[in-house]
């Protein structure tokens, strides 16, 4: 009986989705909004090679600010929810291979993460992806050395400073009269080079640092609560 209900609900959702598939014939040209973003005068106004980054950081920068806020809220709720209790637990010893590999890989993973968010305006990537890569390095460290002291003060300070700089840069554009989150507060540079697109690489680097620090804090909270059991 229960299985029948599950089946009926699945069929209902599938039949709700089917018209979407039925009327979908692929697009032959861009939507009007995207055509505006892809006009050559607008491309040279932002001067970012990666149009997705241009949309995320400048045109829809306010959304990104809200997104960072949501991530911060999630991290804050988890920190409030899972209170850290420090007590010793007996762990199986990690193998030497794992420890050595972690020591060698963590700097490289961090470097890849930093590369991804610094080049966010040129190649696929950006602050969120780079931050996630950095956090994956942190989780490798936490798994390899479970008794290591996690310096959460440092990560919290990094997170707060990055957030303040991000909002400060955004507000600075409004103060000098260009507009909130305008990227032209710094020189636009030559199209396609690392120092181009004005404030976008700076903003995305701070977003990357903030996301990396936040995710590392969340992971550490999960790890330190697991120590209870």
């Amino acid at each position: 009986m229960k299985k029948l209900f599950v089946f009926i609900i699945l069929i209902a959702l599938a039949s709700m989705l089917y018209p979407l598939l039925d009327t979908f014939h692929g697009n032959d040209k861009l939507s009007e909004l995207s055509q505006f973003y892809a006009q050559s005068e607008n491309v040279s106004k932002v001067n970012a090679q990666n149009l997705v980054t241009a949309v995320v950081v400048t045109y829809r920068g306010l959304d990104t600010l809200g997104e960072v806020t949501i991530l911060f809220l999630a991290a804050a709720i988890i920190a409030f929810f899972l209170k850290t209790e420090s007590e010793k637990r007996t762990l199986r010893k990690n193998s030497e291979i794992f420890k050595t590999a972690a020591k060698m890989l963590v700097p490289i993973i961090t470097m890849v993460g930093i590369y991804i968010f610094i080049n966010g305006h040129l190649t696929p990537g950006g602050g969120f992806q780079g931050g996630a890569v950095i956090a994956s390095g942190v989780i490798l460290m936490l798994l390899a050395f479970p008794n290591m002291e996690f310096n959460h003060k440092f990560f919290e300070a990094l997170e707060s400073i990055s957030g303040v700089v991000y909002v400060g840069l955004a507000a600075f554009g409004a103060i000098i009269g260009l507009g909130f989150l305008d990227n032209a507060i710094l020189p636009l540079g030559k199209f396609g080079e690392l120092f181009s697109a004005g404030a976008i690489p700076v903003i995305y680097s701070f977003v990357g640092l903030k996301v990396g620090a936040e995710l590392s804090n969340i992971l550490n909270k999960f790890k330190s609560v697991q120590a209870e059991n």
Binding site: L13, F24, V52, T64, L71, I78, F222
Partner: protein, 118 residues
């Protein structure tokens, strides 16, 4: 090509809904929510596909002229980027709740939580 991705997206959405409704373990239910999320992302990206378009990264000179006819739509991709991050935050919150529930009843089976059932 776009039909393959959009159909895959719909199937993943249905698989996620199925997992949410039938699984008993809370962790598996959370995985179902993640699957639902991923399916929606795939559908959104594939709906933005423009026939014959390339990724909206203008790293070649021939892309700089007449850009609008050569690239796929960047706006839904930016939207999906936002949605992925928010999905990550929601998943982390759900996992935190799951850990709290586990420390209450020492069980992750959804059947053992009957407090709100009438």
């Amino acid at each position: 090509m776009e039909y393959i991705t959009i159909t895959t997206g719909f199937l993943i959405i249905l698989a996620g809904l199925w997992a949410i409704m039938t699984r008993k373990n809370i962790i598996r239910i959370i995985i179902g929510f993640s699957l639902f999320d991923t399916g929606i992302h795939i559908v959104m990206v594939s709906m933005a596909y423009v026939k014959g378009g390339v990724a909206p990264i203008l790293d070649k000179n021939e892309l700089l002229t007449d850009t609008a006819n050569k690239i796929v739509d960047p706006v839904p991709q930016a939207l999906v980027l936002t949605a992925i991050v928010i999905g990550l935050g929601v998943t982390a919150l759900m996992l935190a709740y799951a850990m709290k529930l586990h420390s209450e009843k020492k069980s992750l089976d959804i059947e053992s939580f009957k407090d709100l059932k009438w």
